[in-house]
């Protein structure tokens, strides 16, 4: 959570809101924030920390682990129309990569800005070539995009 918070200024600049959610109570969130998170990130966590008692919301999102009784690490990108554009679900031992989150958001925002006229190939970042899907592109991606552009 702290790493996402550290990238929050960038996310805010992109017009992105963050909602963190776990099965803990709001009281637990407050104390965790007070004694630990606020010491990891300057200014503390700048977004709401939601409570999902019993994992009811997590169950609907397919991230609730009944055995452990917790919501596992699931990250959903939701666009301004309320459509889920991306989902990433990890078991608890491995953390997320906030920079990859930002890259995906940039790509989804770019596609939305072009109303789908442009799509973003593997590893796309702002400034890299996009693809314009259509009959003319069939069989010719190799001419306009190189595998090295992914990296």
């Amino acid at each position: 959570m702290a790493a996402v918070a550290a990238r929050y200024p960038k996310l805010k600049e992109m017009g992105v809101e963050v909602l963190a959610i776990s099965t803990d109570s709001r009281f637990s969130h407050k104390i965790w924030h007070e004694i630990e998170l606020s010491k990891m990130v300057e200014g503390g966590i700048p977004f709401p920390m939601l409570s999902d008692p019993g994992g009811k919301i997590g169950a609907v999102y397919g991230v609730y682990d009944e055995e452990a009784g917790v919501d596992i690490r699931g990250r959903f990108i939701i666009d301004p129309d309320g459509i889920i554009q991306a989902a990433e679900i990890l078991t608890p031992s491995v953390g997320r990569n906030p920079d990859e989150l930002i890259r995906q958001l940039q790509a989804f925002q770019h596609v939305r800005a072009t109303k789908g006229a442009e799509v973003t190939p593997s590893g796309w970042r702002p400034g890299k070539p996009t693809l314009k899907p259509g009959p003319d592109l069939v069989g010719k991606v190799w001419q306009v995009w190189k595998v090295e552009d992914s990296f």
């Binding site: 959570m1 996310l11 017009g15 992105v16 809101e17 963050v18 909602l19 963190a20 959610i21 776990s22 099965t23 803990d24 109570s25 709001r26 009281f27 637990s28 969130h29 407050k30 104390i31 965790w32 503390g44 966590i45 700048p46 977004f47 709401p48 920390m49 939601l50 409570s51 999902d52 009811k56 919301i57 997590g58 169950a59 609907v60 999102y61 991230v63 452990a68 917790v70 919501d71 596992i72 690490r73 699931g74 990250r75 959903f76 990108i77 939701i78 666009d79 301004p80 309320g82 459509i83 889920i84 554009q85 991306a86 989902a87 608890p92 491995v94 953390g95 958001l105 989804f108 925002q109």
Partner: protein, 140 residues
Amino acid sequence: MGISLTFGKLSEVQNVNAKGGDVEMPKRREFIAGVVGGSVGLFASASTDASVKGGMANMPQEVDACVRPAAGPLIPKTAGETQPAKEVAPMVPLARVGKEAPDFEATAYIPGEGFKLVKLSDYRGKWVVLCFYPGDFTFV
């Protein structure tokens, strides 16, 4: 102590206030306000104000707007309407990429603001990153 307070009379609550100096008490009173609501809730928030003036003057003043339980998952009933999903069993995952994000209402702690109810659909028109995580105080 906190539990007896829940059932205590207003005067007993005032007694505890009068002892003062106990910084844990405002949090407990906020909790009681959340459970009992109504007039006691109003009283509790007023006494919290007093504590803020006392020992926590440099802290931002946070509010407790969670005076009722959150609805949790909300599922579509008819066009444009939603209802709490607890009335519908069993719970199956509904979230899919490319589909509308299932709506929900949850209680939340917002640093600097306090306890509030947050509804996903209130964020319509904005990009949202919804991050589930296994628990507070976990290491990763």
